[in-house]
Structure formats: C-alpha cells, structure tokens
Subunit: 223 residues, 2 copies
C-alpha cells in the first residue's frame, strides 16, 4: 500500500508518518521506484504501537525509538526483556548533586537503604542500574522533604510490586514468537504501568471517600 492508505488505515497524518520515518521509528517501505514505496501490514502494526507508546505510555519520540530498537533486536538475543526494560525511560531522573559535602552523606545513606532493601528481598540488581539510581535519588529527596518511608513501609511496597510484576510476567508467557513476545512485553511494561497507576488512583479515591464517610457521615464526593 502507499503512504496515503497507511495514513487512512491508522489515522496518522501523512506528514507525521514521514516524520516517524525520518526519526527512525518506522522502517522505510520497499521502494518500487524513485518516488514510490510499498508499505505492508507490519507498518500498520508498528504505527499502532508507536501511537500507543507515545499517547498511552507517554513516551517521547526518542524513548520510543530506543524501545522499538530493543524490540527489533529481540529475535536474536535472549535478554530482550531486560533490554526493553532498560530502554524505557526511568520515571525519576537522577539529578546531579547540588551541595558538595552534606549531599554525599545523604546520598550514601539513601544508597545504603536501597542496598538493604534489595538484600532483604533477595533481589539482584547492579548498582549502576538506572532503577537503583532512580530509587536512591527519590529516597534522598523524600528525606529532604521530611517524608521518608517508615521502617518496613518500603518493604511492604516492594512486596506488592513483586506481586504486580508476577502478574506482568504471566501476561507475557505463552507467546512463542520472539518478536511478538517483545511487542507484548513493551505493551505490558509501558502501557500497563499507567493503567495500574489509574487503578491506584481510583482505589485511593475510594478509600478517601470511605474514610470521610466513616468519620463524619459526610458523603460528599471529592471535589
């Protein structure tokens, strides 16, 4: 099919498709002449995935390119799932240190807290993992805000996270084709995270409602 039909079938404007081609998110079509190329169903599928990642997953174009790159490597290497996980943007950017001395101390103590958590849970992760670094940065900042996690609280969250991750993994098993598996993994990792966040918000809302109603029989819904 030509670009105009690709556009019609996916609802993505032609100019945007060209943009994605330029950015390397979408492989070029099979050129049949100097000014003509043929696109296939795989382009439709890929375009849908791009749309889902950017709109639902909230990924930037650059992050989407990295993630899709990991997907395309997936047929060869076994660590595809890990590569995809690492390609996804970390929700907490580890910023550089500000104060030169007391910073280091806070940094170290947050790192120790993370290390202890990982040891307790018997989770393995390299110290250089972006997730470990992000977690450290977050704990440090929470401490500065006087809102650190109480003892055991972080472990309780981690235990729930493990349950969630188990569900995630279950959704991915049973897919045999490595490329399809990689795509499924991307969807589970990138799109189901916001879904869980929504569920959490709804649950919070409900608990607040229940608590308010229980406290003073005021059944006013939030706002």
């Amino acid at each position: 099919m030509k670009i105009s039909e690709l556009s019609r079938r996916t609802g993505v404007p032609v100019a945007s498709i060209k943009y994605f081609l330029r950015q390397g998110l979408l492989p070029a079509g099979r050129a049949t002449a100097a000014t003509l190329a043929e696109y296939g169903d795989e382009h439709v599928q890929r375009l849908r995935l791009i749309k889902a990642l950017t709109t639902l997953g909230g990924l930037s174009i650059a992050a989407t390119r990295d993630v899709l790159g990991a997907v395309d490597q997936a047929d060869s290497s076994e660590g595809a799932l890990g590569a995809i996980s690492y390609a996804l943007p970390v929700p907490v950017a580890a910023q550089g240190a500000a104060g030169p001395e007391e910073e280091a101390e806070a940094d170290e103590s947050a790192a120790a807290e993370v290390a202890e958590l990982l040891a307790t849970l018997e989770w393995q992760a390299p110290d250089t993992s972006p997730h470990v670094l992000g977690l450290t940065a977050a704990l440090k900042e929470l401490r500065r805000l006087d809102a650190r996690y109480g003892p055991g609280e972080l472990a309780a969250y981690a235990a729930l996270a493990e349950s969630v991750a188990r569900l995630d993994l279950e959704r991915a098993v049973g897919v045999e084709d490595p490329v399809a598996l990689a795509e499924r993994a991307v969807i589970v990792f990138a799109i189901c995270a916001p879904v869980f966040e929504l569920l959490r918000r709804l649950a919070q809302e409900n608990q607040v409602r229940r608590r308010v109603a229980g406290a003073d029989a005021d059944s006013t819904p939030p706002r």
Copy 2:
C-alpha cells in the same frame, strides 16, 4: 531573606525563582519597598516541593500550579485529598475518537468493562472521573493492539492497587495540620507513584533473571 539567599538555600537559580513567581507557583514575598521583598521559610519549603514535583514527580509547571493550588485550598475544604488527586495529571490522555462508527462500539464495550470492574470491587467513581475515562481509553487501545487483559487479570491488578492505596493512605494519617496533610498527600500521590514504578521494574527484572536462570542456567544479566 532576599531572593538571592532563597536561591542559595534551595539551589534554584534566581531567574527560575522569578519564573515560578510569575507562573504563580510561589507566592510573592512580603514587599518591604518598591524593589525589595522578604521571603521566609515557607518559601524555601514551597520551592523544595516544586522541585520535587517537577523533577521527581515529572509534573509540568501547569500541573504543579494546579496541585499547589489544591494544597492551598486544603485548610478550608474537606475534600482536599480528592481535589489533589484530581489535580494530578492523568497518565493516560483520553484522545478524541478517530473513526466515526466502529470506534463508538469499541468505546462502549471498554466502558462496560470498566463499569463492571468498579461494580465488582464496589468502588464508586463518577463516569466523568478522569481516571475512569483514562482507564476506558487504555483498555480500548489495548484491545486494538490485541493485548487485552484476560478475564480476572484486571481484577487481580485492581486488588493489588487497593493494597497499595491502603499503604498510601496510612502514610498520610497522623498528620493533623491540614496544610501539612495536604503537602504530605501531594508527596505520597505524586512522588511515591514513580517510586512504586521503579520497584515494579526492579521486580520485573528480577523475575526475568530468575526465569532465564531457571530455564536454561543462563545467568546473563539483562543487556
């Protein structure tokens, strides 16, 4: 204190502080003369919160303004927690419909699925809640990607979300001062969400590692 000291104490450049003042994120200092104003500890605290929300929480300036506005209303109204929850950006933007006919059908069926979930869990939420709308949009898109949740899977996630929300709420109780409570709630809602996401990623990584090791004794770490 003057603006330069406020800058020194928080590490935020003077120009940025002025920007935040312009954007209404930070209340103006108490003017002592035409070109002089006095800032206090509350400005330091507020600035820290702004930094945490934008860098750790990933909020935009506009979202941060909305959230802080909800915090400032918190001393008066009771539904402060709900207002804050609604002021936070929804991770899934509900996009407008593309195709005029079959879209509506998919939309409806996704909405029905969400309604059923809420009914099963005995969660109450207005149909117009941004969280409900976002969830509907996400389910619709997942269906289009052939990656819908299996029966019961969504409920399983929701049950875990409820446990997480319970932990969230526990972290907020015990704070009496309404303003402090609102600030705590913002931190819990906006910053602990990324933290949980990090924990989930670490857990995923670990499960993948374990699974790979178990499957073929290949202990290669991801990437």
